[in-house]
Symmetry: C2
């Protein structure tokens, strides 16, 4: 099974975009805000966006959005989790060579529900801290009822595939002299100005928000 | 089958986020740049990011990235295609009520390869024009070899589910007076300054690039 998985994850299309460096994969997982989780239910595929966080060699998934479809969860569920960062449009001289600059990680494996209360609390903390470092300690902690209605899954990072495309277009030699503008248009996910809830009495922004919006962009 | 699909697509988790208005779904599909395609191969789920475009009641998918896994393609392949737009972080007073503002469309159905050359060319045009309107006519058109090595799939928009979350956090009544900052941090996908390829002789930007970067953001 593991060998099959490794074989299936081998990047055959655009092999030049395959990245073996695990640090690149971890950086992509660190920068992404959401993942897309694929699973099989009732014999067909489903893809749902959700939150995630990495903790060492494990990826935590906020499982609630898909909980209704996650039958037989106790034994674990086969998933494919993909995190994609879109870095730009790539305009070539030929229509065919148009592309996008991106970084993506595909992880496959068996996700299992975290049942132990301490482990579950740690995973929930990781999920919140992944999205906005420092936020966990600023907000009210979860009570037992909230803990019970939250589903968190753990997926080992044993089988993953990383693809990265950067740089200018790759037109064929015969096209390079065509009088067509070619290049890149960068894309970034940008944080805007925080808007306080109407009921907030103290307008001073908390440390987590100041730190994040000072950076302006994620990453 | 169709009834089962409709039932499975019913939003049971956060039903208040379900949107029945088809125009909302079409607007989300219009604004997104990439989708995540889920399919089953070798008995397990796979999720791959790729380009798409909508043409009336059909979604075109650039199938090449996943072509190796798409076995038995002639008969069509069951897919789940998800487009997610991330609009902001939602900070509540309680950890539990933290969320994200987003708009997503999940489409399920059978994707089939487009074989007819004219239909395939039209689909390829739609894919390029979706990403950057006006670009198709600026670049060199595909030749027969390029056409043959491009795989395009068509997925009918018969079964889809739309979810939208907007606005401030939804803390419970007991939490609303807590002295914790709560609100939203908007997120936008922003276009940066176009960078010409080193070989470009004429620095004048083409109409497609000017129109897109003048808007600054996608949407």
């Amino acid at each position: 099974m593991s060998e099959d998985l490794e074989q299936a994850l081998k990047v055959e299309r655009h092999p030049e975009r395959a990245v073996k460096d695990r640090d690149v994969a971890l950086a992509i997982l660190g920068e992404g805000l959401i993942c897309h989780v694929g699973f099989v239910a009732a014999g067909r595929p489903w893809v749902i966006p959700t939150m995630y966080a990495r903790d060492g060699e494990v990826l935590y998934l906020h499982g609630s959005p898909a909980s209704r479809m996650l039958t037989g969860l106790a034994g674990g569920i086969e998933v494919s989790v993909t995190v994609t960062l879109l870095d730009g449009l790539v305009l070539a001289r030929s229509v065919f060579s148009h592309s996008m600059n991106y970084r993506s990680v595909v992880i496959v494996g068996t996700a299992r529900e975290i049942v132990d209360p301490d482990a579950k609390l740690a995973a929930m903390r990781a999920l919140v801290e992944h999205v906005l470092p420092g936020r966990w300690d600023e907000a009210r902690q979860p009570n037992s009822k909230e803990m019970a209605t939250t589903l968190v899954l753990a997926l080992p990072l044993d089988h993953l595939s990383t693809k990265v495309r950067t740089g200018p277009p790759s037109d064929g030699a015969a096209d390079r002299s065509l009088p067509v503008w070619a290049g890149e248009i960068p894309l970034t996910l940008t944080f805007g100005t925080p808007r306080a809830d109407a009921l907030v009495a103290d307008p001073v922004l908390p440390g987590s928000v100041i730190a994040q919006t000072a950076r302006g962009v994620r990453g």
